[in-house]
């Protein structure tokens, strides 16, 4: 409080910017995963469950092996497996993929809580970061400019997904399946197969997003680790118009909104703490209202995705 007091409102601004870099990482991974899944014509609303399961798996494996990066890999694999479950059920006729997502949401959280019970009191390894703020005399600035390794990886993945969707054969197959399953059939594509792979890749990325929660910030494993980032990321994708690069910008915005409550609290402003804490949800809803339209498909929306209709 006193330290932030030295910088006054600048302290809050710096904490929000630093928070944006820190907190945005899970949003980036989950939203990129959802972009891939939705581009194939499916919605996976269960990414919150995958996120929590990823956080738990990452922590458990990192504690057991001592290597945080093996934990990240384990989180991705756990996410891909849950994605496969979602895809397998959604591939069946007359099954609503949104409802399957809600089921996966409950199942993933349940599984993570069940398996993660023994790891709650344990301290674990954390992922490395790069300090870009050594030039500054203010500890707040140095703290804010500690860029974690997964954030940088997320930027790389965003670029890859953007390029891949546009320029590769796989990207084209994905987009065809998402825009018209009839056209995909005419091209001789196995739509369910493409969507299964897309949901598994999406799950893989969402799982990695979860690993950030337990291996970097806030760190450790407990049942309150996620506060709905997996769900907000889905709204974020709509706001970002299914564009991977916009997803990064939107994630930074959401990260900043999430960091607002804690930043104000460290500056000594405790009133309305819970309302500031809910800023990301208000922001998501406001952006949805702003960017939706009752009578036309959103620009960039895959036509087969039920959530954009």
């Amino acid at each position: 409080m006193q330290e932030a007091g030295d910088l006054g409102w600048w302290g809050v601004a710096i904490a929000v910017i630093g928070g944006a870099f820190r907190v945005s990482t899970p949003y980036i991974f989950v939203s990129l995963g959802e972009v891939i899944t939705e581009k194939s014509g499916r919605v996976n609303l269960g990414l919150e469950g995958i996120l929590v399961m990823g956080a738990m798996s990452a922590f458990a494996v990192a504690v057991m092996t001592g290597s945080p990066w093996l934990g990240v890999l384990a989180a991705g694999i756990a996410g891909a497996l849950l994605g496969a479950v979602h895809a397998a059920i959604s591939n069946l006729p007359r099954v609503n993929d949104i409802a399957v997502g809600i089921a996966l949401f409950i199942f993933g959280i349940g599984l993570a809580f069940f398996l993660g019970k023994p790891f709650t009191p344990v301290a674990g390894p954390i992922l490395p970061h790069i300090s870009l703020g050594a030039w500054s005399a203010f500890p707040q600035v140095r703290n804010a400019l500690e860029i974690n390794a997964l954030f940088i990886l997320g930027l790389v993945v965003a670029g890859l997904v953007y390029w891949g969707l546009k320029n590769t054969r796989w990207g084209l197959m994905l987009r065809v399946c998402g825009d018209s399953s009839d056209a995909a059939l005419a091209m001789g594509l196995n739509v369910n197969y493409v969507r299964t792979v897309a949901t598994m890749v999406g799950g893989f990325l969402a799982g990695i997003g979860g690993s950030f929660l337990s291996l970097y910030y806030p760190g450790g494993w407990n049942e309150g680790l996620s506060s709905g980032q997996g769900l907000m990321a889905i709204a974020l994708v709509i706001f970002a118009r299914w564009n991977p690069i916009y997803c990064v910008y939107a994630s930074l915005l959401f990260g900043a909104a999430t960091a607002l409550g804690p930043a104000l609290q460290t500056a000594g402003i405790n009133e309305n703490y819970y309302l500031y804490g809910a800023a990301p949800y208000f922001l998501t809803l406001a952006l949805l209202i702003y960017s939706s339209s009752p009578d036309r498909l959103l620009a960039g929306a895959p036509a087969e995705v039920s959530i954009s209709k």
């Binding site: 609303l45 479950v85 059920i89 069946l92 006729p93 007359r94 099954v95 609503n96 949104i98 409802a99 399957v100 809600i102 089921a103 996966l104 409950i106 199942f107 993933g108 959280i109 349940g110 599984l111 993570a112 809580f113 069940f114 019970k117 506060s227 709905g228 769900l231 907000m232 889905i234 709204a235 709509i238 009133e271 309305n272 703490y273 819970y274 309302l275 804490g277 809910a278 949800y281 208000f282 998501t284 809803l285 949805l288 209202i289 939706s292 339209s293 009752p294 009578d295 959530i307 954009s308």
Partner: protein, 365 residues
């Protein structure tokens, strides 16, 4: 006429068969799951039965858990009949509970029945408006109702935390941050001869009434047409926006009423004990009941039993408290997957509904 009656018999038989099949698959997967964790599956399944139904206490516990689930399930089931996927029961319950507290504290000295009715209405209307807002956003602004109701859940919980942390905080309760309490004279007690609160009866009656409304009235018919084919409803000249808003309001009112009874009959004040996934389990109840209000009553009791036996599983087998959550997740996924089985059981056509007398009558006619 004959075919109509037979097809109704067959569709009921099919639904029952598919649902029990999904339940059986769930129990098999769940058994494998607990077996992998070193517990004897047969003993665990028996404990599920014991904790849910075997003794008078466990049955009372089950029914107490089932009461709010009947009402929160309506929050998904009624909009689903109009073709919406609403998952905001958790938030509507919290908002309903808050409204009940806010109105309840003003009713000091009121006679019992009017006081309880006013508080119930406050909860129901607040929850109804909460979900109707999401319906309105969908109809007039094109905002996806699944995502908006999910966000509204988080917003409702934040609003509750904000209110009980300051504006309506009762500072004499130090164990858990809690709101003011409603007057003791307006607390709802147990049913005569049963340690289950009146919310059970209210929930069951609501389900019955809504079953009748959905099945026998023009409103219910219009909603089913809309849910089946929105274009047809448009061509038939139905006022679609009104139907959607009405369904959302009714569903939200159900969840809000659940919140009202959680306050009036269980807690007496609002705090985080309200947020125990009653809304999310309600979604599962609605899907398992195939959005049929009559079936919700039975399914809610079944799911209530799972919750009620959670403590026994923890004590006897040392399984984590999340075990029931895993079971619910598996059940939900099996039920959704079982939708694929409809229309594939040709052997059902060979069964003649001998027990149904109507076909004979219609032959004569």
């Amino acid at each position: 006429m004959v075919t109509a009656i037979r097809s109704h018999f067959h569709s009921v038989a099919e639904a029952v068969l598919v649902s029990f099949g999904a339940l059986a698959v769930t129990l098999i997967i769940f058994s494998a799951f607990v077996w992998l964790h070193g517990a004897n599956p047969l003993e665990v399944l028996y404990a599920l039965y014991q904790g849910g139904f075997a003794t008078r206490t466990s049955l009372e516990n089950t029914l107490t858990q089932a009461a709010p689930l009947m009402l929160t399930a309506l929050c998904t089931a009624i909009p689903a009949r109009a073709g919406l996927l609403v998952i905001g029961g958790e938030g509507a319950l919290v908002i309903g509970a808050l409204a009940t507290v806010l109105i309840g504290v003003l009713l000091e000295g009121w006679p019992f029945l009017p006081g309880v009715i006013v508080m119930s209405l406050a909860g129901a209307v607040a929850g109804g408006l909460w979900i109707a807002a999401a319906g309105g956003l969908r109809q007039y602004r094109g905002v996806n109702e699944t995502i908006s109701t999910l966000l509204l859940n988080y917003i409702a919980i934040a609003v509750m935390n904000h209110l009980i942390d300051g504006p309506i905080r009762d500072f004499s309760r130090t164990l858990k941050t809690s709101s003011w309490s409603i007057p003791d004279s307006l607390r709802v007690g147990s049913l005569p001869g049963l340690d289950v609160h009146w919310g059970l009866v209210v929930g069951a009656v609501c389900c019955l009434v809504l079953w009748f409304v959905m099945r026998k009235t023009t409103f219910g018919f219009a909603v089913d047409v809309l849910g089946g084919n929105a274009r047809a409803a448009q061509l038939a000249g139905f006022r679609i926006n009104r139907l959607v808003l009405a369904c959302c309001f009714i569903g939200g009112a159900g969840a809000g009423l659940a919140g009202a009874f959680e306050i009036m009959a269980v807690h007496g004040f609002a705090n985080e004990s309200l947020v125990v996934r009653l809304g999310y389990i309600g979604i599962l109840v609605a899907f398992l009941a195939r959005h049929n209000p009559l079936a919700i009553i039975g399914v809610a009791i079944l799911l209530g039993a799972i919750t009620a036996s959670g403590g026994l599983l923890q004590r006897r087998f040392g399984l984590p408290d999340a075990t029931t959550l895993v079971l619910q997740g598996i059940l939900f996924m099996s039920v959704l997957a079982s939708n694929a089985a409809y229309g594939r059981m040709s052997f059902l056509e060979m069964i003649r509904p001998a027990a149904v007398p109507e076909p004979v009558k219609s032959k004569e006619a």
